[in-house]
């Protein structure tokens, strides 16, 4: 094809980082194709043939092989098998067309309301080929064309969408009777599915929700019954009208008949609606799914209620326990604080006593050492030593006092006592708590 089309929408920019060998990246193959027949007609075909043939010749076998691989477009009518013709049906008269089963006449009872227009046309043609009176006459049999007229009538009705609906409306053979309680037991879903499938032919709204089975969800089942309880049906009952006289003379009679028919139609329509409603009531009453859903709903509801009560109870209990625990903890804490306080007091007192005792040891030690005097200590000597002891006591904490007391306790020899004291003074001077030269008397 030579002509080039131009597209105004633009190509995308090359994404950052795109790269390929020679700027081309093959990714997949073209999706598999079907073999079809091109028509050997027109200048472009002849050009194709010239290219494709290239001085080759093909045999009959090639033809057969090629044709077999090509997708079939024309379907041979032989494919649908014929239904046997009931001899009683062949005796029918076209004037009784109202009572005739048009689908049976055309041999498509297995389709009925499901028959496509194409199937009806093909069925009609087959019957025409078989029953045309001119053919029968040509073959020497009787010129009876009554059944042929039945065929024409059937086709006329079934190929007219309005008339076909009128007939389908009263085609009882397409009805599926609702199962009795007994029957429906085990095959409940299968049997009722069939019923609703047949019934669905009258629905203005298509597609119609399926009946489903035991595993359908609540939503599906609700949807189904909602649809059917609000069923919008095109079913009409004109087909059962009584004949209205055609002549103009008897106008009164005509009008009377028309009114009678109109009444009959609406009565039948009302009856039909009632029938459907009753059927739905029966079906839903026996529908285990609905029972189950109700139970489940109840159980769920009860569970909710119980859960709520339990939760409330638990909350109360929890609150109570919590309060108790809190009270207990508070009390315990209080008691502990009291004990602690007392212990603290005792300890403090003990410490105080210990300090007093230790101080006594300290002072006792210098006394034992005779205030480091050789001979009787002078009052000044005693004072100086005791002042320095006081000084040191003031600089150190009770633990240090205790430690010092520990070292001094039991010592009786003055030099040893002095040694301890002078060590202590040195320590304190080292720690910077005493200035060099202070507590001289103890060194």
């Amino acid at each position: 094809m030579a002509a080039t089309t131009t597209v105004t929408r633009s190509l995308p920019a090359l994404p950052e980082g795109w790269s390929a060998d020679k700027d081309f990246k093959p990714i997949t193959k073209i999706t598999a194709s079907s073999q079809r027949t091109i028509e050997p007609v027109g200048p472009h075909f002849l050009a194709h043939a010239r290219r494709a043939r290239h001085k080759r010749t093909f045999s009959e076998d090639d033809r057969i092989q090629a044709q077999e691989s090509a997708k079939k477009i024309e379907k041979d009518d032989e494919s649908d098998e014929s239904e046997p013709e009931d001899p009683m049906m062949l005796q029918r008269e076209a004037k009784d067309w109202k009572s005739q089963d048009h689908y049976q006449v055309l041999g498509i009872t297995k389709y009925r309301w499901k028959a496509t227009e194409d199937q009806i046309k093909r069925a009609h043609r087959k019957k025409v080929l078989k029953h045309h009176p001119d053919k029968k006459a040509a073959q020497g049999s009787s010129e009876d064309d009554s059944f042929f007229k039945c065929i024409q009538k059937a086709t006329e009705v079934l190929l007219d969408p309005v008339k076909r609906r009128q007939f389908d409306s009263i085609d009882e053979k397409a009805d599926v009777e609702p199962p009795s309680k007994k029957e429906s037991g085990k095959n409940f879903y299968k049997l009722w599915s069939r019923v609703f499938k047949a019934e669905s032919r009258f629905s203005k709204q298509q597609p119609v929700p399926m009946f489903g089975d035991a595993n359908s969800t609540k939503e599906e089942v609700d949807n189904f019954y909602n649809f059917w309880y609000n069923f919008d049906s095109w079913r009409t009952f004109e087909y059962l009208d009584e004949d209205v006289p055609d002549d103009n003379e008897n106008r009164g009679q005509k009008r009377h008949m028309e009114r009678k028919n109109a009444n009959a139609r609406s009565k039948k329509k009302a009856e039909d609606n009632a029938r459907l409603r009753k059927m739905l009531d029966d079906c839903s009453a026996a529908d285990e799914r609905i029972k189950r859903f109700r139970q489940e709903a109840n159980a769920a509801k009860n569970k909710k209620k119980n859960d709520k009560e339990a939760a409330e109870k638990k909350a109360k209990e929890d609150a109570r326990l919590k309060k108790e625990a809190e009270e207990k903890a508070a009390k315990e804490a209080e008691e502990k604080a009291k004990v602690d306080r007392e212990a603290n007091k005792k300890a403090k007192e003990a410490a105080k006593t210990a300090v007093k005792k230790n101080k006594r040891i300290l002072k006792g030690s210098v006394k034992d050492a005779n205030y480091f005097a050789s001979g009787d200590a002078t009052a000044a000597q005693v004072d100086a030593v005791l002042n320095d002891v006081d000084l040191i006591q003031g600089k150190i904490d009770p633990d240090e006092i205790a430690a010092l007391a520990g070292k001094l306790n039991g010592l009786k020899v003055a030099d040893e006592i002095k040694g301890v004291w002078s060590g202590e003074v040195k320590r304190l001077v080292g720690a910077g708590k005493l200035k060099d030269g202070e507590a001289k008397s103890l060194v």
Binding site: S33, R36, E39, I64, K121
Partner: protein
């Protein structure tokens, strides 16, 4: 599909004078190409639609409208509607349309007619093949007279469901009339060719519905036209809604009107009255295709009573609605059978005599989206006369192949050449629209026969630079948008009350065809495209579905080239 035996006559290419023939059950036509353009030839009566009827009276042979007139006076020696019987045994024919003429008979399975063709004394038994030969001989004679040169050969259009046996029988009947059959071609394709061969026609890939609405049957085909190659995707054949059924509607109408004035005289109950009623009803029907009124006037319609009335088109369209609706359903059905939607159809060609009817064309007009071309006289002033499409197409094909040796025609139309792979999905390139979304742009249409080669030029981004050529497969789906329940628009209320009338229509859902991007086949880069530049992308798919993709800047040098492996 050159049938075996077409060359029995051994005509050599330089002796040939070839015509195109449309051979219908109701009407036939002959056409020839004069200076490459097809011309439908009028017979000696000046008719271009020549009734397919053969009649004898006093040993004299009549065809066309002269024979048709005999249906009133001499029906039993008048053969009508016989073409479909060719190549069929008696068991499988539908004799319906022969009822008011010679009846087909069963001569050991062969369909035959008993006709007094040599005067009143004796009757001959003529097989349908013999009847066809005699009729074709007359057609050829008319063409020869017109062209001033002995017609030796023809291309004949046949229905797509014509069986092998029927095709062979037709070739034989033609050969017996000293006519070489160069090729039998399918009727819808003849019609498509007639349109495609017009000088102003553009070669485009499109899906065409050809509705051939004839006298006794309606045939519809969905055809993929790809680079001038035609593939039939689906067909439907219908014998319940056709020209005769429209005649019947008018016959019943006129008969009832007649009976209002003449109670108890039913013109349908007497063969001769019925024939008159039928002839005049058909004439009125044709008038109603052109005018808005038609006259129905028959002298001595029944029991010596003359009858005259007029009918207007509206009335006709009302009483014929069932038949018209049938055509719509037939067309919808075959589109569905092809797995397509009305939105996929680019063109509808109305072919055959019944396609003159304006109402049928306007019904199709509303069935299809506005983008679909409806080729019918009443919807398109440039449409070709629907009665002439098949003969024109056949004549065009005849002129294309008449120079070939018979052997060459047979080999060139061989199934080994016509059975080819067709691409399943469309192949195209990704483009970006203004809002930045990626869209599929088709390069090769689905159902294109391979080998196939297509080229497109695509704009580069405004500023040029490096561009990505991403080759992908694409499919379509139908997007249905339900209209938003329209909030009452009060704003314009007091000024403008005029537009409440179309509220009904606006309720309708909106359907559109949208492309879906499928699998990526390949990516290529075209670098350094100039500002405002364009990129050329060519895809070449070979017989084995391997493909070569080439792309470059339009006007630029070099380019990128890569291959895809066979499927």
């Amino acid at each position: 599909m050159a049938e075996k035996g077409g060359n029995k006559l051994g005509v050599s290419p330089d002796e040939r004078c070839a015509i195109g023939i449309s051979f219908g059950n109701s009407y036939s036509s002959i056409a020839s190409t004069i200076d490459d353009s097809p011309v439908v030839i009028a017979n000696e009566d000046g008719d271009r639609q020549i009734p397919t009827i053969l009649s004898y009276i006093d040993g004299e042979e009549y065809t066309g409208n002269q024979a048709k007139a005999m249906l009133i006076r001499n029906p039993s020696n008048t053969v009508v509607s016989f073409k479909d019987f060719l190549g069929q045994d008696f068991k499988s024919i539908d004799p319906t349309h022969c009822h008011a003429a010679a009846h087909p008979e069963d001569v050991s399975g062969t369909v035959s007619f008993k006709i007094q063709d040599k005067g009143e004394k004796e009757a001959s038994t003529l097989s349908v093949s013999e009847v066809s030969t005699r009729y074709i001989r007359r057609l050829v004679q008319s063409a020869t007279d017109y062209l001033g040169k002995k017609v030796t050969s023809a291309v004949i259009a046949v229905p797509t469901n014509f069986s092998k046996k029927q095709r062979e029988a037709l070739v034989k009947a033609a050969n017996d009339a000293d006519l070489e059959v160069l090729q039998l071609i399918n009727e819808p394709i003849a019609s498509v060719l007639a349109y495609d061969a017009r000088p102003e026609a553009k070669l485009e890939d499109k899906i065409i519905v050809v509705a051939e609405l004839g006298g006794t049957r309606s045939d519809v085909a969905v055809v993929a036209s790809r680079g001038g190659l035609y593939t039939i995707l689906a067909t439907a054949h219908d014998y319940e809604f056709a020209g005769v059924h429209l005649d019947k509607v008018l016959m019943d109408h006129f008969a009832q009107e007649f009976m209002k004035k003449n109670p108890n005289v039913d013109p349908r109950e007497n063969a001769r009255s019925l024939a008159k009623l039928k002839a005049e009803s058909e004439a009125a029907k044709k008038s109603l295709s052109i005018g808005t009124n038609a006259n129905f006037s028959v002298e001595s319609l029944a029991e010596g009573i003359d009858f005259q009335m007029t009918i207007n088109r509206l009335r006709y369209e009302t009483i014929a609605r069932k038949v018209f609706d049938g055509f719509n359903r037939l067309v919808e059905g075959v589109i569905k059978k092809a797995g397509l939607d009305v939105l996929d159809i680019d063109e509808v060609i109305l072919s055959g005599g019944t396609s003159h009817t304006p109402r049928i064309a306007s019904n199709f007009r509303s069935l299809f989206p506005d983008t679909t071309t409806i080729q019918a006289p009443s919807t398109n002033p440039n449409a070709i006369n629907p009665s002439e499409l098949q003969p024109r197409g056949a004549a065009l094909q005849a002129s294309l192949i008449q120079e070939y040796e018979t052997e060459d025609i047979e080999q060139s139309t061989h199934a080994a050449l016509t059975t080819v792979k067709h691409i399943t999905n469309a192949i195209g390139v990704i483009c970006v629209s203004d809002d930045g979304t990626e869209t599929f742009t088709r390069i090769i249409a689905p159902e294109t026969a391979v080998p196939a080669r297509r080229t497109v030029h695509v704009a580069a981004p405004k500023d040029g630079g490096d561009v990505l050529v991403k080759i992908v497969e694409g499919g379509t789906h139908i997007k249905v948008t339900k209209p938003e329940p329209k909030a009452k628009d009060n704003s314009a209320k007091d000024e403008d009350d005029s537009d409440f009338d179309d509220s009904e229509e606006e309720e309708e859902e909106h359907r559109e065809k949208v492309w879906k991007i499928g699998t990526t086949l390949a990516e290529a880069a075209v670098k350094g495209v100039k500002e405002g530049g364009k990129v050329e992308v060519t895809i070449n798919v070979a017989n084995d579905l391997s493909a070569t993709i080439t792309t470059r800047e339009v006007g630029g040098k070099g380019g990128v080239r890569g291959n895809l492996k066979p499927a």
